[in-house]
Amino acid sequence: MASYIALNYWELGAASLFVFIDAGLSVIFRLNLHRSLLVAAIRMAVQLALVGLVLTTLFSLVSPLWTGIAAFVMVLFAGHEAAQRQEMRLSGWWSYGLGTGCMMMSSVLVTVFALTATLRPNPWYDPRYAIPLLGMILGNCMTGIGLGLNALTTSLVNRRASVEAQLMLGATRQVAAGPVTREALRSALMPVINSMSVTAVVSLPGMMTGRILGGVPPAEAVKYRSS
């Protein structure tokens, strides 16, 4: 299990060289991306460093309270990101609340199910399993819910006349908004279905890759991913 290659800081620095090359290209081609690229890279490095610290503490504590708090904070951040990606915002707290609420419900449900029914670590809330698992599920959720909400609001705005036409003739809101809702759900699920169908052919899932790099035999890693 412990047969992994440790990285030193020079090697990390060399990896960031490509970010600088990209930033240089952005300057040459006037793409105006270099600033956001560098900010994102620095943000990522700082976030990862902090997360390294937090996870170390969290893993040593194995406390249901602190695991819960960490999970909650993760969901809030994911909700914020999904809300940021919206072209049209719902008014007031709906924009943030709807996405976060959906994510909270679905990701917590799936994570708890995976922990208690399939993986079954002891204790079931062991942060070493719970936190990375929630992170992966949240990542997918965020894409799906961000896309779905965006499709819902933009197509409701674009097709306002047709939705209202049905409302005016006495249709219920479920019927009138039916086509728009179905379209939104389809666009939310499309990336998941696409990536599922090409998994192992085009891309190796992060979790499986992680376990292979961590020294687990590929056949075992596949089992983890499939569950």
Partner: protein, 249 residues
Amino acid sequence: MAEVVSVPGSDTLLRRKLWEILSTGVATMLANELGRSAFHAGSPILQIRDLRTNLLRPASLSLSAGECIAIRGPSGAGKTLLLRAIADLDPNEGLVCLDGRNRSTIAGPEWRRLVDYVPAEPGWWADTVGEHFSEWTTALPVVRELGFPEDAKAWPISRLSTGERLRLALVRALMVRPKILLLDEPTAALDPASVAAVEALIAIRVQSGLAVLWITHDAEQARHIAHRLLVVKGGQVREEVPEWQATSP
């Protein structure tokens, strides 16, 4: 009566009495004809008190069955907002009653079947004309009346002209059998023959009890179709004595 006739000298009195009776009858008939409806004198079917939105100042009005009110006013004054608020399509406050039933006690879909709004740019949710009607055969007489052939059912919506869209949206709305029809410039993009057809179509339904609020920019049309006149200006709704009633004695 026979006794009166037999009395000599009361001849003129009798004739005057007869004339009075006759003329009153004719006057009532004329009034009905002008009012274009036997329902005109009825109690209001739609009562609105202090209806307001964030752009519309409190508006009150009442509309009787078989009555048509023209709504006029400059563009952007809030005419459409008034109709949308009555149909409960935009957030609004105030008291709206239909046949004495408070709107807040009626579910949205049912309310909009009773009080049907036809916008200036109607929306379409399917590809062909026929898909927008629950029963095309029932709609057919009205469809023909407005100048469409029977095979209009298969016409793609994308190829309809603005005028055709307006007329078909009107048929679609009438098929729901509303008690109140809210029309937002239904003849704005029509040729004179179609305008006449639409006006006649609505007039017949008004005669049989339909109540209509009709937004129009055309003073002449307002005179043809309406019994009363509302003017909307800067979000303020008020009733005016129409010029065609003000000028006649």
